[in-house]
Symmetry: C2
Subunit: 300 residues, 2 copies
């Protein structure tokens, strides 16, 4: 997929497909809990890249593709978990951000209490959605394996653990080891989850799952370093969120620790490693490889 016009078209199709799948699983806005569902859907329908569900499905397609019914609720669930973390991250007690994905943040629109509960409801709804996979023809034991991965990568030893350490050290200079821990968990964990759950639902072997975990980790680190770079060099309108927030918050990032040039180099190196391992694992990952490659050059 050297032809970048084709890649862009295909990416757009896949994003729209992910979007349709996600919307199919959102809670109905009715009854007494209508406003809570509205608050949940408000954040879920804000424009997003839907990278994690797309990656999950690509990983799934790489390793077979028996029963679509199991992968789709997992795709929606992963985007819900990601969005849950954004709602709570933006709260006044945490990053205190007013804009996200080009829209006002949930607590600005619905109030702080409702945003805390909407975030909780969305995290829980992610699992409720993933549990719908038990209604498919996929072996329930395999769904159990996918759930274990999703839970672990989301939790205290995954995304939430990374956020916790990040918040604890807010405004305090940190070393590379801790920065690596935060990135590995805050950002890589859900990308690892995307690639691993996709693969496991398609029947991948243990060594393949371990490879997908390493690939996800490298993609995530590259993605986060690119995020740090964009916070310095990016365009506020294009990003849909404020720039220079790291500097404002005295945040240690890869850029503040190693400088812009080194950050660029590292993001490219990590991307290259991920692409190489993916190529040697399967001959089939053309779109996924293009997707990964596109991330280290992204402008938003």
């Amino acid at each position: 997929m050297e032809n970048s016009v084709n890649f862009k078209e295909e990416l757009q199709k896949k994003t729209e497909r992910a979007e349709r799948i996600i919307r199919r699983y959102l809670p109905a806005e009715e009854g007494f809990s209508q406003r809570m569902a509205e608050a949940v859907n408000y954040s879920m329908t804000a424009p997003g890249k839907r990278l994690r569900p797309i990656m999950m499905e690509e990983a799934y397609l790489l390793f077979l593709g028996r029963d679509r019914m199991a992968i789709e609720p997992f795709m929606a669930a992963l985007e819900m978990i990601h969005t849950h973390s954004l709602i709570h991250d933006d709260l006044p007690a945490l990053d205190n951000d007013d804009y996200r994905r080009g829209k006002k943040t949930t607590h600005v629109v619905y109030g702080e209490a409702a945003a805390i509960l909407a975030g909780d409801a969305l995290l829980n709804y992610a699992y409720e959605t993933a549990f719908l996979a038990f209604q498919s023809n996929t072996d329930p034991a395999v769904i159990g394996q996918a759930l274990e991965i999703l839970g672990r990568k989301t939790g205290i030893h995954g995304m939430l653990g990374g956020q916790g350490v990040d918040v604890e050290n807010d405004g305090i200079p940190i070393n590379r080891e801790m920065l690596n821990y935060i990135y590995r968990n805050k950002t890589s964990a859900l990308i690892e989850a995307a690639l691993m759950t996709g693969a496991v639902l398609a029947g991948a072997e243990k060594y393949e799952l371990e490879a997908m975990e390493r690939i996800g980790r490298n993609i995530g680190l590259a993605f986060q370093i690119q995020d740090d770079i964009l916070d310095v060099t990016g365009d506020e309108k294009e990003l849909g969120k404020p720039v220079h927030s790291d500097e404002k918050n005295h945040k240690t990032t890869w850029v503040t620790l190693q400088g812009l040039k080194d950050a660029h180099k590292e993001a490219e190196k990590l991307t290259q490693e991920a692409v190489c391992e993916l190529s040697s694992l399967t001959g089939d990952g053309e779109f996924l490889i293009s997707l990964i490659s596109s991330l280290s050059g992204r402008k938003k």
Copy 2:
């Protein structure tokens, strides 16, 4: 079990047993996420009645008891979900309570940001813990059914939905229909989950699950009405939390709508209904019946 000394002894043993099981599943306080694990464990180890896990196991025992390995992680998971809701409920943006279960609340000890993330981590950890049941010999499809119930009763159409509507109508007079919706979800949903997941893991039939759901609903409503009563008549020291908070917050409760006398009567009626249905469902539920009966007379 008319002899209340025996009941108290047995209850204490079962509480200690639930306590041991819960502690076995708590996250280790180590590595970079140590403080987050500490914040999670801080709230989980505060003295609690552990009613929900006890009820879950009792329901489980009623309907068979093949493989203990599946029920135990679910017991711990349910108490984690309950405690998660307490951490977030106590936050400044919600009830703004400084004491809970006789200890300072999580946000007072760890700060607001850490308390939000600890609550998230605990909700997620509940699912991670329940997923451990896949390592038991219980049929994964049955575990899937138990997870579906747990997820639904916790989520936007369960506990969290009830809390959402409760918070939205904070300080606004509400009618009995809405009050019933809030109680049904905020309080009954997790008790329904306890009885239903316990029963389903032990192999109960569909009509038995429906009965357990009705029983759980009635127990929960009685429990919440008793909570309203204790907020007016209870002792702050014994309760471990402030009294008269409903009045202070202009909160509509069963007591403010119907008066104390009617509230007592309703709690007793609901309890009686639950006891009758349980007795007719199985001849075996002696301890569970004593437990239910004891709740409507409780002082804390």
